[in-house]
């Protein structure tokens, strides 16, 4: 390893990044856009859901029933005169559900019999519908408790649930999306950028000139690894800063542990990028391959948005090949739960193994030869 040659290569790489707008876009602009998009735009919570309320014959009873809806942060009730109009609004997508209190609601209630209410939900988005049902049930359970209290009766409830929500007490999906997003961003910088830059050297013919110089293959690889490692860590700090200060995601665990694990994951991503471009030698192919085998799995199969446990068995097994899966687990734990050592150590060990495999294959595959 010759320090002068390595220095030359690293300086060249930095100059190229600084002068190539596309590299800066991938390393800095894209992370910011993704974070803003996911931080503000994407939410898996249901809030202020428009719901049509049909009351056939308004009475004080029905008024107190729907008052629960009015005060709920989850619903934006819209009062509609007839069931037909409500159903039209549902078809038109103006509301996500219908609550129908029929004319005999009051009478049945007062006679002490069961008073059925009608609920229709738009279940095209199954997750959304399940959430709504839960919220609605909550609304009338609250109402029933109040009714029972005012009537001076103890509602006979054999089991009472007292939920405690751990790690994300506010149940904000943003708090778990933003840490997961960091894994996607690191994959982007680590794998996509690296895959492109080595392929570019082949495409422009600079690789042949490099190879004919006394530089060794190890130096060429390190000359790529070091600059993009630093760039990736820069991207990490930017993302963590945005997560903590802009989106108010709590960082419960250790910051330094987060940096250490991120460095490990970044090396895996760089290893994948280097391997792809060593094999592809063409920017277009390298870019496509990098997106399909690193970026998309990091998005879909890492547990960042979609829960791995609810995937089919076979897909669950496949997710073990996705490095981002282990990193997402580490990130969500460190941000929300804290330094849970057993979990972090097993996931970090998996990352270490993948890093050794990818960098090892890359080193073995890159010979200083053209044939």
């Amino acid at each position: 390893m010759n320090r002068q040659r390595l220095r030359g290569l690293i300086r060249k790489e930095f100059l190229q990044v600084l002068r190539d707008p596309s590299a800066i876009a991938i390393a800095f602009v894209l992370p910011v856009i993704l974070l803003l998009l996911f931080g503000y735009g994407v939410s898996l919570d249901a809030r202020e859901v428009p719901i049509a309320v049909v009351i056939d014959s308004p009475t004080p009873q029905t008024a107190s029933f729907v008052a629960g809806l009015d005060y709920s942060p989850y619903f934006a009730p819209r009062y509609v005169a007839t069931a037909a109009a409500a159903s039209e609004a549902l078809m038109a997508g103006q509301v996500s559900g219908i609550l129908w209190l029929r004319g005999d609601f009051d009478r049945l209630l007062l006679t002490g019999r069961t008073a059925p209410i009608g609920v229709w939900l738009n279940a095209v988005d199954a997750n959304h519908a399940t959430l709504l049902r839960g919220y609605l049930e909550g609304v009338w359970q609250d109402w029933m408790l109040i009714q029972a209290e005012t009537a001076g009766l103890a509602l006979a409830m054999p089991v009472v649930a007292e939920p405690r929500i751990w790690f994300n007490p506010a149940v904000r999906s943003r708090d778990f999306l933003v840490p997961g997003l960091i894994a996607v961003i690191m994959t982007l910088i680590g794998a996509l950028l690296t895959a492109l830059v080595i392929a570019r050297e082949w495409e422009r013919g600079t690789m042949e000139a490099l190879m004919a110089s006394p530089v060794t293959m190890g130096e060429i690889l390190l000359g790529k690894l070091i600059p993009y490692f630093l760039l990736g860590m820069g991207g990490l700090l930017l993302s963590v800063a945005m997560a903590v200060w802009l989106f108010q995601v709590p960082l419960v665990g250790s910051f330094w542990l987060l940096v250490l694990c991120s460095a490990l994951f970044l090396l895996v991503a760089l290893g994948m990028g280097l391997l792809i471009s060593t094999l592809a030698k063409n920017q277009f192919v390298a870019g496509q391959v990098a997106i399909i085998v690193t970026f998309l799995p990091a998005f879909i199969l890492s547990g960042f948005i979609f829960d791995i446990r609810s995937m089919p068995e076979a897909v669950q097994i496949i997710t073990h090949l996705v490095a981002a899966r282990f990193y997402v687990a580490i990130l969500q734990t460190l941000f929300l739960a804290g330094n849970v050592w057993p979990l972090i150590l097993t996931n970090a060990a998996a990352l270490l193994l993948m890093m050794l495999i990818f960098l090892g294959i890359t080193r073995a595959k890159s010979r200083k030869r053209l044939d």
Partner: protein, 611 residues
């Protein structure tokens, strides 16, 4: 031992094969050559001869399948890193980092070659002076001209004064002035004791070498000093002039005579290479002896002696014979529509007499095109008459391709008048396009489709239907002798056939004007000859040919030409007229290249005085 150390490079019984999928190509076969220290050795040969493979073997970037390669006494298999510390290798596409400045590129290679910091400043200054690049040290490599890039590439390989310098086609695509500068750098290095192995496609550069290795199909045909190549041909070379006959007709007539190995247009006459002495002049012909050139030796060694007058049997050994015995269409067989009359049916003949009319087919007046603040084409004007071969000459970056794209309606002009085949291109681009055929650089064919599928596609693309489509397809197949290759994917076709297929596709709709963008770039002299004969026949049948090239000697094939430099027209006229502009008492017979160099130098000193 002493004899061995005199050799900088030794290849002994080297075989090299490349595999791609199921296909394999034998690049080098039992090749044994030696390069002596302290000399300039030229590496020549047609395309696919194995020049680049040899260079890469010498740079230890490839290992031989059999035999051994020794560089400076070291084996390339086991001592690659020691070799790479002592050689300088400049690949065909030298890897400059375009985002980095000239200076930063030099610094990078100084680091890579381990040039100590203390020596760096002096060495860089020396190289910048040698290459005359000092004024551009801060400019980005991507913004340098083609010639400057090549000089910078050379400077980068020279930073740590290599013992052996390997240069792979350093002068390709570079304007004549830069080409001369590059050679003067090589001569300077040689004077300082460097050993140089340089491959080149320009045959006139052979005379600058001490020794020539001539490769063909991976084998060494000969290795000797250039004088030894030309000596046996003394008395075989003549220049023929005919008082009444057009030189192109004279060339055709000479090519059909027995004993004529080669006939090329040169100055006012035709240069002839005879197989045997003495010449048998026909009446009215003036035969003057000429000194033989390396090109003559190249032709006589590489083209199989055939019986002129009757075309050699088609493609008995296709990879080789397709170059020399390219079945050139006789003018009577060409059916391309040259006139304004409705297109004749295929198979009918078109009288070649149409050439005499002098109506302008292409008119360009005050044409400009700028990209941002950069003016690629600055106020140029010229016109082309029907049935002529019109050349657009100039180095890379002269504005040829920009002009060409505007003529084809592929790029809108910034201002000026542009009429092609009687249609204003700026108003009716589609109409103009239907009247032209276009062969792009590197022949834009679909490599994964067969020859037949390519033909069918282009027939459909030009909207040919029914009987006319059948007739044109049959014409293309027969005219360009493509029958044997109809089922072959075009990616696997030999270069000569690709060229023919590209022409067939471009002529499918019987255009009046054929645009050819650098059709001979990267093509060896034999294929270039065959190509130009084909073009001449097309022109005789009335098709107007517009062609760009950076080979100055190809100017002789044109009836008229425009010489461009930095977006401006330096000269417009017949080759003779342009050469006449450069004729001085010292230079009674300047070549087109001499004329080009002189015109540029005068132009630059003029503009400097004006400024």
């Amino acid at each position: 031992m002493s004899a061995k150390t005199e050799l900088a490079l030794v290849l002994a019984g080297v075989d090299k094969q490349f595999r791609q999928g199921k296909r394999s190509t034998q690049a080098l076969t039992q090749l044994s050559v030696q390069v002596q220290r302290g000399r300039i050795t030229g590496l020549m040969g047609p395309d696919g001869a194995g020049k680049t493979t040899l260079m890469r073997l010498a740079a230890a970037l490839l290992h031989p399948d059999a035999g051994e390669v020794q560089v400076l006494g070291l084996d390339t298999r086991t001592q690659a890193s020691l070799i790479q510390q002592q050689i300088g290798y400049m690949p065909q596409r030298f890897g400059l980092y375009e985002e980095l400045s000239l200076r930063e590129n030099l610094d990078l290679y100084a680091d890579l070659q381990g040039l100590p910091d203390a020596e760096r400043a002096a060495r860089c200054a020396e190289l910048l002076r040698l290459t005359a690049l000092s004024p551009f040290a801060a400019r980005r490599a991507g913004d340098l001209s083609g010639g400057m890039k090549q000089k910078l590439g050379l400077a980068c390989t020279l930073l740590r004064a290599p013992t052996l310098l390997l240069l792979d086609e350093p002068t390709v695509g570079v304007d004549p002035i830069s080409r001369r500068e590059l050679w003067s750098i090589i001569q300077t290095l040689h004077g300082q004791g460097a050993t140089v192995l340089v491959s080149t496609a320009y045959l006139d550069e052979a005379e600058r070498c001490d020794d020539i290795i001539l490769l063909d199909q991976g084998r060494c045909l000969a290795q000797q000093p250039p004088a030894a190549f030309t000596a046996p041909l003394a008395g075989h070379c003549w220049r023929v002039r005919h008082a009444g006959m057009h030189r192109r007709a004279l060339q055709e007539s000479l090519l059909t005579r027995p004993g004529v190995r080669d006939a090329t247009l040169q100055a006012e006459g035709v240069r002839v290479l005879l197989a045997e002495n003495p010449p048998q002049p026909a009446p009215d012909e003036d035969w003057q002896p000429q000194p033989p050139r390396f090109e003559d030796a190249f032709i006589s060694l590489l083209s199989p002696p055939s019986t002129p007058g009757q075309p050699a049997p088609a493609m008995s050994t296709p990879s080789r014979d397709q170059r020399a015995s390219d079945p050139v269409p006789r003018s009577s067989a060409v059916t391309v529509d040259g006139g304004m009359a409705p297109a004749p049916r295929a198979g009918s003949t078109q009288p070649p007499a149409a050439t005499s009319s002098s109506e302008p087919v292409i008119e360009v007046q005050n044409l400009r095109r700028s990209f941002g603040s950069f003016e690629a084409v600055k106020d140029i004007s010229f016109s082309v008459t029907r049935g002529e071969v019109f050349g657009l000459l100039g180095a890379n970056g002269a504005g040829k391709t920009t002009t060409f794209r505007m003529l084809c309606g592929l790029l809108p002009a910034s201002s000026g008048v542009l009429r092609v085949a009687g249609v204003d291109v700026r108003q009716a681009t589609a109409t103009a396009r239907a009247r032209i055929g276009y062969v792009a650089q590197k022949f834009a064919l679909y490599g994964n489709l067969s020859t037949q599928q390519n033909l069918h596609f282009f027939a459909s693309a030009y909207g040919l239907r029914g009987a006319r489509r059948q007739a044109r397809l049959a014409w293309a197949e027969q005219e360009f002798a493509l029958t044997d290759y109809l089922g072959t994917n075009t990616g696997a076709l030999p270069l000569g056939f690709k060229q023919r297929l590209a022409l067939a596709c471009a002529l499918m709709h019987e255009p009046r004007i054929l645009f050819l963008d650098e059709p001979t770039s990267g093509v060896d002299p034999l294929a270039r000859r065959a190509f130009w004969r084909r073009i001449n026949h097309l022109a005789e049948s009335g098709v107007t040919i517009m062609v760009t090239t950076h080979f100055m000697d190809e100017a002789e094939y044109c009836d008229h030409l425009v010489l461009m430099s930095r977006g401006e027209v330096l000269a417009f006229g017949s080759p003779q007229a342009i050469r006449a502009q450069a004729t001085t008492p010292d230079h009674p017979e300047p070549s087109m290249e001499d004329a080009f160099v002189q015109l540029i130098q005068t132009h630059e000193s003029d503009s400097r005085q004006a400024a």
